[in-house]
Symmetry: D2
Subunit: 273 residues, 4 copies
């Protein structure tokens, strides 16, 4: 079960043990989503298609961590990227990062690539698939296989042609082809690889969460969902810094006192990301 489901269980009073929402610890969250997807969106598209990123018109649905990663990478390689959002805060961030915020229907006809990363369902509908231009690439980087309404494409008037592993051409009666990757499942898992460094971050976070739950004095955790204590999140990060030959600065006693911090952390309030 994912983080959202844990909170639903908890709300419904059906959680019978304490749980850690490791998915929202800062380090794991950034690596699994922002940093990993920044690379895998490029990798996934390159392995499956003939795309050259420069000058391509791309719409990214959802400007959360995954969307931010995809947008950063594609923009850096010369794509012209716009985004769709439901959340005004994320939308405003997209503006400030240089992406136009549009409704999908406004731009769908001009797009070379459509990427979903909302975690929602039916973000790309059959009506929108009908309006895409010939050769448009459609893929999903979100949390499920529901974002693109693939079921709607399994209808008699459309022809499916598998051109290579994970790549289908959906052919309209007028000859238009839409390039569907991984049948709408996760591109990053289906058509790219996850670096072991990311796996190490994830595994370390999970292991520390279990140790914390196991070792915690009775009563610290009730039948509820908790974020990983900040200090452990920081510990996961510190274990991975030597890979980059990174040298942390230590607080002097005087500085720690001035900041009201313990010299060994945690260094930030729990809501800090």
């Amino acid at each position: 079960v994912g983080g959202a489901e844990l909170y639903q269980l908890s709300k419904a009073g059906k959680l019978c043990v304490p749980a850690m929402n490791v998915n929202d610890s800062v380090t794991k969250q950034k690596f699994d989503n922002l940093y990993c997807c920044r690379e895998s969106i490029l990798d996934g598209l390159k392995r499956t298609t003939d795309i050259m990123f420069g000058g391509k018109q791309v719409v990214v649905c959802g400007y959360g961590e995954v969307g931010k990663g995809c947008c950063t990478a594609l923009k850096a390689l010369g794509a012209i990227v716009c985004i769709t959002e439901i959340d005004p805060i994320c939308a405003l961030q997209a503006c400030m990062d240089g992406f136009r915020v549009v409704k999908l229907s406004e731009v769908i006809r001009q797009m070379d690539v459509v990427i979903t990363c909302t975690g929602n369902k039916n973000v790309v509908t059959r009506e929108q698939l009908d309006r895409m231009k010939n050769g448009c690439i459609v893929c999903n980087m979100g949390h499920s296989n529901t974002e693109i309404d693939v079921a709607s494409l399994r209808s008699p008037e459309l022809t499916w042609e598998r051109v290579r592993s994970q790549v289908d051409h959906i052919i309209w009666p007028d000859g238009k082809r839409v390039v569907l990757l991984a049948e709408g499942r996760l591109l990053n898992l289906s058509c790219s690889t996850v670096p072991t460094f990311v796996l190490s971050i994830t595994a370390t976070t999970q292991a520390l969460a279990l140790i914390e739950l196991f070792n915690a004095p009775e009563g610290r955790y009730k039948q509820d969902v908790y974020l990983l204590p900040k200090k452990m999140d920081e510990y996961v990060a510190s274990l991975h810094l030597p890979n980059f030959d990174a040298h942390l600065t230590e607080l002097s006693d005087e500085q720690a006192k001035y900041m009201g911090l313990n010299k060994n952390g945690p260094f930030k309030p729990n809501y800090y990301r």
Copy 2:
């Protein structure tokens, strides 16, 4: 009083009214720090010095929102930037963003520009000022005027020469000059301007916080420090989107139900940044 002081008052039981920590609402935080400083670091340096950013070696102390803004802008204009950090999570983020994480003493001799944004005190010490190279520019983008130990420079063996408003040359006996901006006070306030757009974000956030506190049913807020409710944070953002001709997407009933969200928000958990 700033956010940190509010929490200290609260912890000490000395807070006699409910308080909103508007400083950590997402929208205000990003604009006041990340987006604003991304521009004002360039502006502040350009107005006061003869600097050309390309190829300059820069160390930024602190990779919080202000540091992230400074680093992004300077890197984009061709500077070679490294950072110092006490917090392993921020340090790891710096690595992933392409910045070497160093101790200040390791690099101080080579730097063309030293920028502080830690909120701490004595981040740049007299010993480090002594080791800087001729022409090194030193300035502060953090929360106070304590980050650079300016007091230590007011000593008889050093000569101060005011070369223009907000710019002092500190001259060592061997002729070496360090260029100190705004006497160590905030560069962004002293040597740049704050766009009215940022002021609007801040003022809107503060006004909504006051309205919320005033209108809240008795008992909702106690003598403690609260984050602005997510929905109001989103409202601030939505009020500023029309400036960018941004078009938000609306959830369908079906999608809202699938996500477990109200169609009008809030769209994210409170800790989401």
Copy 3:
């Protein structure tokens, strides 16, 4: 006289001495245009207006070295930039760099900033000025003061209001204001400063050109226009490398032979940029 005029004189047989087109030597060209304008477009806009770059819609007319510099900087700070071009090669480069190539009339209504860098005349016409939205900023980074048809704005139905040095509001009868910078003269010279590093590159190039013309054996140069010999262009660059603590690699004898190069340069054919 500029480079173009020299070639016209030469073509007309009116050049009575040998001339060096120092303007097109690689080092000077890149610094005067690409690198310098990358910084001065930001500086010029910041000193004169209340602009925040993030999310601003900007059109840059001309994607030569100056246009490339402006576009790079503005994109990096979160502006959404499109360009206009007459030359298909430069236009294709703009595509690959992630900029939409448009005609000015297609986008003029939506733009927050209009920047000219074509070297041409009447690139922004009165008709286009009439269609700009309220608050649009118009400025010129090109080679002359002819790019914006400023003369057309000096007409009785429009009111000029000087709001500060170098900044005029042109007010239409319906109250719309266009913000004209430096009366259409060069923004980079009028509202920004040129770093001494750029002046050093320029002065060194000019001095070497004069020395070369003076020292050249009779007959090497006729009454024509010449590019600075590659080797001197390289020399200018090498004199400025120590500022960056840059360490050049030297060819081994074997490598020089393999490449067919002299170990001391020139390292590239003359047309290489």
Copy 4:
């Protein structure tokens, strides 16, 4: 035969027909090298290794068009990139683009990835391979298979282990492994694909060059090497613009006269890149 060999033949008086150096036409040059390698360096590394780009220390040998492409892409994805150069002009460009210019021997011990793109031989020597750290990835993006001294690695004290197609681990007696890609041949051809768009640019350029040579009036071309006429270079570009829905601006008669240009081009002097 490549461009360099053509010039050598011509110099030696051994060229018996006119030849076009299509390789240095602007459009083909940029696409084959800058734009193509910007994407294929990422693709080639991702398909062959477990690399995550963020935070990786990379040295790129050679800052020509290929090197510029590699550096841009790697920097954008969070790698920390430095370069080596023999040419002071390219070195100065690297500085202004934010890359430290070093000698390979100064940094070789710290590097996670070494990439050659010089066109030279023995750029990476056995001595340098000996000093690399465990896990260092070595690959070649240049013009030949001579840049890495692979022959020196075929010696009895080293063990070669093929871990997958195009990937060899070279194992030192102390257990250190260097990851050699494509046995030092071109990574972009061996471990990535060339987009058909690039092939189209190249084929169009070559075809136009042949047509020009065939159709040219007698005497226009002698037994020498020529650059493609600017106008044809522009024509290649204009044929590929519709892919990006790019709209060129046309000169008015008045503007063409002011610029001294024909409205149909060529728009730039021949040496313009």
